[in-house]
Subunit: 196 residues, 2 copies
Amino acid sequence: MLEKFKSYLVDKGGITEAEFQELAPVLQTKTIDKGTYLLREGEVCKYAFFVEQGLLRSFSIDQAGKEHIIQFAPENWIMSDISSNFFNESSDFFIEAIENTEVVLLDKTFFNLSDKSSSYRKYNELLLQNHIRHLQKRVNLLLSASAEKRYLNFIQLYPDLTLRVSQWMIASYLGITPESLSRVRKELATKNFKPN
Amino acid sequence: MLEKFKSYLVDKGGITEAEFQELAPVLQTKTIDKGTYLLREGEVCKYAFFVEQGLLRSFSIDQAGKEHIIQFAPENWIMSDISSNFFNESSDFFIEAIENTEVVLLDKTFFNLSDKSSSYRKYNELLLQNHIRHLQKRVNLLLSASAEKRYLNFIQLYPDLTLRVSQWMIASYLGITPESLSRVRKELATKNFKPN
DNA sequence: CGCGTGATTGAAACCCTTCAAGTTTAGTGG
DNA sequence: CCACTAAACTTGAAGGGTTTCAATCACGCG
């Protein structure tokens, strides 16, 4: 239940084995059914969710009632509204499980470990920096690329998600309609391009 | 030359007067002419720039040769390609002074202060968290809002920039053409809306 | 004064959306 | 295991918003 999280911290995050052994007993894990919400607009986000198995999405709903997917989180990703959590503000976003999912719950106790341990501190900064890099690329892409380019970028960045996520959700992530994505795919097919 | 930066750290950032006095002598400041580049695509970003006076912009240039403005930084803002700086990667962006500008140069020495002082640590985290919040809102807006809504959001968020920045740059920030922005403004004017 | 840059306006083209219908796929219960 | 249904995907036609290209206007600066 914690394998991926452990390898994430120890192998990639620079956390020592000893530190992890100390942490492990207090970690909460949770099994979440497909369709369950982990956060709703207006709530304060209390946790970050590390995905051991499964798939989460975060999205907003605009005035016209349309959903806009901000992010997907498959295995080894962390999903949260970091800003809502950090600033104790109510969130603009929803977080929903789109597969049956196992998550590790990370609350302020976890993030406050960086006050005591320099390896947790570095790990936390790495998390934030990675998130910024990701968002920055996303802004740039939304500003500069056509629907087709955004889709090509998506399947390159998340090849497995292309198969696990319905097309209307991919369209929502890209900022286009499902119909448009369908046509983009058709167009790409005639150019002899095959995503799967 | 350091007034705003000092008040930024001490009054808002939780840095003590003593800590700042220790820091001040090693800070470099620089005066930059309008039109000068502080970072070019392909370079590694060595600094973060705190704007004491003036205005910077960061932007990318796409394959078609078009500019896309990612961010503006007027007084009291910090401009950098944080990811390039942190990960030592070459940057996808340019940073340019669009007014004669005075900046404080912040290099890794500055950011490494967080290893020693818990107030600098908190300050740094606050910087990153604010940046994430900003980018998150920007992504959401680009996904969900029309040109008109994006413009209205812009003049609400940066009322002074509306006057200091040329319209084609605002258009570039919003992800539309200057012509479109001109028409949006005309449309808003007929609805009896006056931005200035 | 004249030049260059930025802003505006018009007309045509284009990309994407909307709406509606039809087809395919996947899941459920008999 | 098939039949039924709902959801997802596709396709078409029409419309809207934005871009493109071109021409004109306004302004500031040398």
